[in-house]
């Protein structure tokens, strides 16, 4: 597993490995932090802290073949120490995109961030970004598997309704 190898090299002070790992998974960490915090700057701060933690603790990581679960659990723990009075809604224009997203995509991301509950959003983002199995998501989020599944289906239904509306517009 790729991430495992990076962690091993980082444990041996390999700065290059650290930079490569950052480029590989920064969006995964950031998205999950954003999902919890609904705030761009806070999510960026959390992401930085997560990677510093990885850098200092890679040597402690005992491979259970689930390095991403380990990293995203760190992300969750740090993010939950950061929750402040967040803005009620978040505007997609706060983000800098690599390529300009189309109108529909902007609406989808905004809807995801503003209209789903935090748990629904966490589940969707962990699933969509990392390809985790539901039991793995349940473990990271401290939820029951059945809860995770029902919340996931409800969230997908909401998102599907939105995309239908888009089509009708």
């Amino acid at each position: 597993m790729e991430v495992n190898n990076y962690l091993e090299r980082i444990a041996m002070n390999d700065i290059e490995a650290f930079n490569e790992l950052y480029n590989l998974i920064n969006n995964n960490v950031y998205s999950f932090a954003l999902s919890i915090l609904k705030n761009n700057e806070d999510a960026l701060d959390v992401m930085q802290e997560v990677f510093i933690t990885i850098y200092h603790n890679a040597y402690k990581y005992q491979n259970q073949n689930k390095p991403m679960a380990w990293i995203l659990t760190i992300t969750k723990n740090i993010a939950y120490t950061k929750i402040r009075n967040n803005k009620k809604t978040i505007n997609v224009d706060e983000f800098e995109f690599i390529t300009k997203p189309n109108h529909d995509d902007k609406i989808l991301v905004e809807y995801l961030l503003n209209n789903l509950t935090t748990e629904e959003r966490n589940i969707i983002i962990l699933h969509a970004m990392n390809g985790f199995k539901f039991y793995e998501i349940a473990k990271i989020l401290d939820l029951k598997l059945t809860t995770t599944l029902s919340k996931y289906h409800r969230a997908i239904k909401k998102l599907k309704e939105l995309t239908k509306e888009e089509e009708n517009e």
């Binding site: 495992n4 091993e8 090299r9 444990a11 041996m12 002070n13 700065i15 650290f18 930079n19 950052y22 920064n26 969006n27 950031y30 998205s31 954003l34 960026l44 992401m47 930085q48 990677f51 510093i52 850098y55 200092h56 040597y59 005992q62 491979n63 259970q64 073949n65 983000f95 800098e96 995109f97 690599i98 390529t99 997203p101 995509d105 989808l108 991301v109 995801l112 969707i124 983002i125 699933h127 969509a128 970004m129 390809g131 997908i156 998102l159 599907k160 995309t163």
Partner: protein
């Protein structure tokens, strides 16, 4: 992942994130890059090795480059250390892909054998090959001098400073039979020897089956008293759960003569025996899934309850084959059966048939029609020959390097072809795996 999730994935990955500048963060005091911190075991050891090499390097040039012992470590990663007379590591060889992964970052050359063994085991723990579900390690020491091999084996065993491991250790010799098998199955000499040891205790198991098992599984099957520590059974459902499943299925609670054992029969199984209500029960339960693979219930019916009369009995006292068949089918509650066989033996009918992908065996008292015992095997697999008879024949002929043959016979049994023929005044017999076409066994007899 559905369409919407794919779009979410693409959009969230499209968000541009700042570069990570470790140097800058260090200046701000967030990161302490140059500070010493506890190094991982691998880094420590490679540093050690460099030091070792620098110090010792030139001093003992001559006698230090000859391999006198080999130490094999098997978990699933399989690694061999070649050691000189001073017990320093000269070379590290990986026997499989996992082994390569384990040694990829380590430079163990020149380090003491005990340091190297501990480093490798440490790395296997770190990489998840040794964990609480599978804690077995096989250590095999090879030296032309058996006494030296034995001394080194004990020394290594004493120096392993990790808890909760189960270590099988042995000395091995490069006997041709063992090295050939090691090459054929691409496994280490040590693993070959352990498998041979298991086969000596249980002649029903084949080398092919056992070669695919992990060291932890082999350790559990081996049940050797000389193994240090206890092999982990945590990957399995556990004896209590297995017992519960069997008792529930048998629908009994008060049992006597209870016995349970973890064993191997195609898969890891719990073998359970007990008595209840004057019946004897045998269960085989899949140790991973808890599925009942096979069970046998012996009603303790005496098959020949009147032996003095039995010889005088006319056949009219006996139930017919057809009646016996009906008794068995009714009990099994099946109608469509295949591979039906019946035999009268010692005043009891032995009946075998297959139905619903299960294999049934009954013993029925030929006088009373009572079921003496029966067993049901849920694990029956339709044989799955890929190789045709013609192809199997060709494989055998090619191997024997003959063309004109007589007395040719071929039979498919238990997913293998048994082939016999004569040629050039010799008798050939072959066993060929019907799925893979591999020659399992052959014998050539000169007339």
């Amino acid at each position: 992942m559905n369409k919407i999730e794919k779009r979410i994935n693409e959009n969230l990955n499209n968000i541009k994130l700042p570069k990570f500048d470790l140097n800058n963060l260090e200046k701000k005091g967030y990161v302490y890059m140059e500070k010493k911190r506890k190094l991982p075991i691998m880094a420590t050891i490679s540093t050690l090795c460099v030091v070792c090499l620098l110090f010792i390097g030139g001093l003992y040039y001559n006698n230090n480059y000859k391999v006198v012992s080999k130490v094999g470590i098997d978990v699933n990663p399989s690694v061999e250390l070649k050691v000189n007379q001073k017990e320093k590591v000269l070379e590290v060889v990986a026997n499989n892909e996992d082994g390569k992964k384990i040694i990829s970052n380590m430079d163990l050359k020149g380090s003491d054998i005990n340091v190297a063994v501990n480093a490798l085991i440490g790395s296997m723990v770190k990489n998840g090959y040794i964990n609480e579900l599978a804690n077995s390690i096989l250590i095999s020491v090879e030296n032309n001098d058996n006494t030296k091999a034995e001394t080194l084996r004990q020394e290594i065993l004493n120096q392993i400073d990790m808890e909760n491991l189960s270590i099988i250790s042995q000395t091995v010799n490069e006997e041709k039979e063992l090295t050939d098998l090691a090459k054929e199955y691409n496994i280490s000499l040590g693993k070959v020897k352990i498998i041979k040891q298991i086969m000596a205790n249980n002649n029903l198991l084949t080398f092919e089956q056992l070669s695919s098992l992990s060291i932890n599984e082999l350790n559990l099957i081996l049940k050797d008293e000389n193994t240090s520590g206890t092999a982990s059974e945590k990957a399995y459902i556990g004896e209590d759960k297995a017992k519960e499943i069997a008792l529930k299925h048998a629908n009994v609670t008060n049992i006597t003569n209870y016995k349970i054992e973890l064993d191997f029969d195609d898969v890891m199984v719990y073998e359970i025996e007990f008595k209840a209500n004057n019946k004897e029960y045998d269960y085989e339960i899949n140790a991973l899934t808890g599925d009942i693979i096979e069970y046998e219930i012996d009603n303790n019916e005496i098959s020949n309850n009147n032996s003095s009369n039995s010889s005088n009995n006319t056949t009219t006292d006996k139930i017919t084959k057809d009646e016996a068949k009906q008794i068995a089918l009714k009990h099994a509650n099946v109608t469509n059966i295949t591979n039906y066989e019946i035999e009268l033996d010692d005043n009891k009918y032995e009946i075998e048939f297959k139905a619903n992908k299960k294999e049934y065996e009954y013993e029925i008292n030929a006088t009373t029609g009572k079921i003496i015992k029966y067993s049901i095997d849920n694990n029956y697999k339709e044989p799955n020959p890929i190789i045709s008879k013609e192809e199997a024949k060709q494989i055998a002929l090619d191997h024997a390097n003959v063309t004109n043959i007589t007395n040719y016979e071929i039979e498919l049994d238990d997913n293998k072809y048994e082939i016999e023929f004569k040629a050039n005044n010799k008798e050939y017999s072959y066993e060929i795996n019907a799925t893979t076409g591999k020659i399992i066994e052959y014998e050539i007899d000169t007339d």
